[in-house]
């Protein structure tokens, strides 16, 4: 008998500005839940991780994301991305 074990894929999550402050985390390794397909799905999953994350991700429309350092829309599939960054709209310059 062949036993097939599917391990949850590990990704790096990074948080910036007020997302970093509210979650209390700047960078972490995270096992992607099997039902998470898009960036928006991931935000919904992260909301469930306690008070700080619930506060940080309370308004997903106010949050921007990047997959492997490239800006993406929240409906984008995470695919094989290794790093997902979450941050507010940028204010440099």
């Amino acid at each position: 008998m062949i036993e097939v074990q599917i391990e949850a894929r590990q990704v790096t999550l990074r948080y910036f500005a007020w997302l970093r402050e509210r979650t209390g985390v700047s960078e972490e390794r995270f096992a992607l839940p099997a039902d998470v397909v898009t960036v928006r799905d991931l935000m919904t999953a992260l909301q469930q991780r306690g008070e700080g994350f619930a506060a940080a991700f309370a308004q997903p429309d106010a949050i921007r994301a990047a997959l492997d350092h490239v800006h993406v829309k929240s409906h984008t599939a995470i695919g094989r991305a290794r790093e997902i960054g979450f941050f507010p709209p940028v204010t440099g310059g």
């Binding site: 910036f16 940028v90 204010t91 440099g92 310059g93």
Partner: protein, 154 residues
């Protein structure tokens, strides 16, 4: 062509001299310097903290610079952006564009700043006199400024 993210201050003259040394195809050099204002929303500001996304910031600035070079006839360019804690009056950002003629240098400068403001991953936090820190909100006018560079018939 170069981009740099740094805590250190920059010297505009030294940056221009280094960028243009030995080049004879440059007829116009345009620069933009962004600085920290001493007030925000009518209140005195004591400090400004600039955070960024290491790795992505450099990639985005290079992407924006490459786009500007292909769009305008630039012969040299440089973007320097500071991070960390800054005081009112301090320099924040420097953009230098060099071209054969002034029109390309001016246009590319505005293009680069409009894209930098809306796509480069930097975030400002202002500290007021009472020590209270506030993350700066993105401005709708910055997004509007970007639309003029996009094709109109799509």
């Amino acid at each position: 062509m170069s981009v740099r993210v740094s805590e250190a201050d920059f010297d505009v003259s030294a940056e221009i001299a280094q960028l243009t040394a030995g080049q004879t195809n440059i007829g116009a050099v345009a620069t933009f310097t962004g600085k920290v204002r001493g007030e925000a929303h009518g209140r005195p500001l004591t400090a400004m903290m600039l955070e960024h996304y290491p790795g992505m910031t450099e990639a985005e600035l290079q992407r924006i610079e490459t786009e500007a070079i292909s769009r305008f006839k630039l012969t040299a360019s440089r973007i320097v952006h500071r991070v960390g804690t800054l005081q009112p009056g301090d320099n924040i950002v420097l953009v230098i564009t060099c071209a054969a003629h002034r029109h390309d240098a001016f246009q590319a400068l505005e293009f680069l700043m409009d894209y930098l403001k809306t796509e480069a991953p930097f975030w400002k936090k202002e500290t007021s006199a009472d020590g209270h820190g506030t993350w700066v909100d993105a401005r709708a006018s910055d997004d509007a400024a970007l639309s003029r560079w996009r094709p109109k018939n799509i």
